[in-house]
């Protein structure tokens, strides 16, 4: 068990791939926004890659352990300290009962860090997952972010199995603030919804992440699109309007003039066009983009290239990336 001293901006329990299979009821998957750092942290402490861990947003989380534990922190550099001593990220560590882990603000690029604990975070499953979906008030720790005073349980684990592990140095990501984000078109693209000029503009422009962005959606700056249709017809007057259809996780939704990337807590269905979808193997990048700071340029992939990227990302987020230190 550990006791939360500071919850930070938003620290939630997440597992991967989250609450999958309920999109038809309007339930988003939730889960870690950066699923690579989440999986690597779990593997470092010998958990299943998708086990429940903590997602810490923008830092300033602190907790005291009431039992011995094995932990690992991956993701944005939150300058972690264990009882005041700097603790290496991307590596496993033993923590003794009574020790305090303190994360401070993010140093450099990146926005979220993932804390894995051997045995995983022990919270009840809700609709098949331990992930927290904050807007719906479900899952994780009482359906909400952690706050001061919370006592969080840790699942059982074999402490004799501890090995010091770390992620291979050349495989630790260096987070930028100017991202290239792989994406695949569709379903409402050129030339039937967008013009080809709109399409080219999207893939050549530098997009800035709005401050008003979160796990539900990443808003970018508005643009006067040309649009291939004069109106949305029966779906509404604006050409970005369509008869409501399912939204893919990671879809780039054009709501009126504004493009919004739908996140892991995003809407599952709606009536605005989705012109592009972030490649599944690049979804982790969204979790490390800082609203109000970072920029994005999109790179078009074919579906075959995107499938290769998904395979490469899964390989990266596996035990093959670890060495014993």
């Amino acid at each position: 068990m550990f006791e939360v001293l500071e919850g930070g901006i938003q620290t939630t329990v997440q597992d991967f791939p989250g609450r999958e299979g309920l999109l038809d009821q309007g339930i988003c998957p939730a889960g870690p926004f950066d699923n690579v750092a989440h999986r690597l942290a779990n593997i470092l402490v010998n958990n299943a890659p998708g086990a429940a861990g903590l997602e810490v947003t923008a830092g300033n989380f602190q907790a005291t352990f009431h039992d011995d534990a094995i932990i690992a922190l991956c993701g944005a550099n939150m300058q972690p300290k264990l009882d005041g001593e700097p603790m290496a990220m991307w590596a496993s560590h033993k923590v003794r009962k009574g020790q305090t882990l303190a994360l401070s603000s993010v140093d450099g690029g990146g926005f979220r860090s993932y804390l894995a604990v051997a045995g995983a975070i022990d919270v009840p499953e809700y609709l098949g997952s331990k992930s927290t979906y904050v807007p719906g008030g479900i899952g994780g720790f009482e359906g909400r972010p952690l706050k001061k005073g919370d006592l969080v349980k840790i699942g059982p684990h074999a402490s004799e199995g501890y090995l010091h592990r770390q992620v291979r140095h050349d495989l630790i990501p260096v987070y930028t603030t100017e991202w290239e984000l792989e994406a695949v078109p569709g379903p409402q693209s050129a030339p039937d919804y967008w013009t080809w000029e709109d399409f080219d503009f999207f893939f050549s422009n530098t997009w800035k992440l709005d401050r008003n962005s979160n796990r539900m959606g990443y808003r970018m700056q508005s643009h006067q699109w040309q649009w291939a249709r004069k109106s949305g017809g029966v779906a509404g007057g604006h050409p970005s309007n369509i008869l409501d259809n399912g939204y893919a996780v990671g879809a780039v939704n054009i709501a009126g003039d504004q493009p919004i990337i739908l996140g892991v807590d995003g809407p599952t269905l709606g009536g605005f066009v989705c012109a592009v979808g972030v490649a599944w193997g690049a979804m982790w990048k969204l979790g490390q983009m800082a609203p109000g700071r970072d920029t994005i340029r999109f790179k078009e992939l074919t579906i075959d290239q995107a499938a290769d990227l998904a395979r490469a990302t899964d390989l990266w987020a596996s035990a093959q990336s670890l060495t014993r230190g």
Binding site: E20, G21, L23, D24, Q25, G26, P135, G136, G137, I138, G143, V184, P185, G186, P187, Q188, S189, A190, P191, D192, F199, N212, M216, G217, S222, G232, G233, V234, A235, G236, G237, H238, N241, L243, D244, N245, G246, A248, V249, G250, A251, A255, G256, D257, P267, T268, L269, G270, G271, F272, V276, G277, A279, W280, G281, I303, A306, A307, A310, R311
Partner: protein, 327 residues
Amino acid sequence: MSDVIRRNAAVLAETPPQDGRPKAVYRLAGDRFLLAEFGEMELDLTLSFRVLGLNTLLKEHRPAGMIESIPALRSILIHYDSTRLAPADLIALVDRLYASLPPVEGLQISSREITLPLAVDDQWTRADIAKYVQYIRKDAPNIINGNNIEYAAQYNGLEDAEAFVRTFMATPWWNAANGFFPGLPFMFPMDPRYAVVIPKYNPTRPFTPEGAVGIAGPCLAIYPVPSPGGYQLIGRTIPIYDPKQRNPAFAANPILMKPGDRVTFTRCTDDELIALREQVYDGSYVYDIREGTLDVGQYLAGLAAIRPETEAFRARQQAAAERTPLP
């Protein structure tokens, strides 16, 4: 790149109309989703009936690598693992199942009738609209006198807000799909003589109160949680989603509505709504839900009988829409 060699960035395959079946179009939706879309973009509930039939077949014949399917009014979004299931193989399966569906007139669809109380132009959505004017857009043409209803009346060629409210409350609403947020119903008017249409917000609202009832395009939605939204706000009703499962209606599932439900509204005041919402949470409120079946053939015959009135409503609506500014 020259336009000459560019075809369509997203469309992978298209099957023309055949034997009374509307066309099918299969679109990429990123690399993990495929959108199967049927017929034209029009308000045609027979597309919803076909989609619900096809979705049942698809679940029975789920191929390895398919994760889930999300039906909507005229489409099914299929979530699949493209490293295990090639899009061409998935399309071939869906197209074969679509061709095997029986004629729509023969469908009997399990369909409940639900009545919900509605506070029209209520204090909560008015407060939300005021916040939108203050923080997001001051000159939104869809906001008149602090509400969206007067704009909705103008856009549909109805004399005033009250006429708009009477119109949309005169039809049962068909729930074609749940989505956006947990258990949010996407409902369409079953009686086309009252099929109002309204454009969406631009830009969208970052906030909407739980229980808000909104209309956009031809679709009516109830917001299950406080959330962003793009629908014009009409009123507020009782909860349709309760993760804490405080009412017997939520005992089995925190989500009230199912695809195929038919919903009608009865009007209440703000004060009455406050009392009803308390009864929902203390468990004493009994939701008005009746089991039933929709006979699609009978429903379609009824539509034919009211065609002149339907066309008159549409003509007046289209003329009004052309002279009304867009958000």
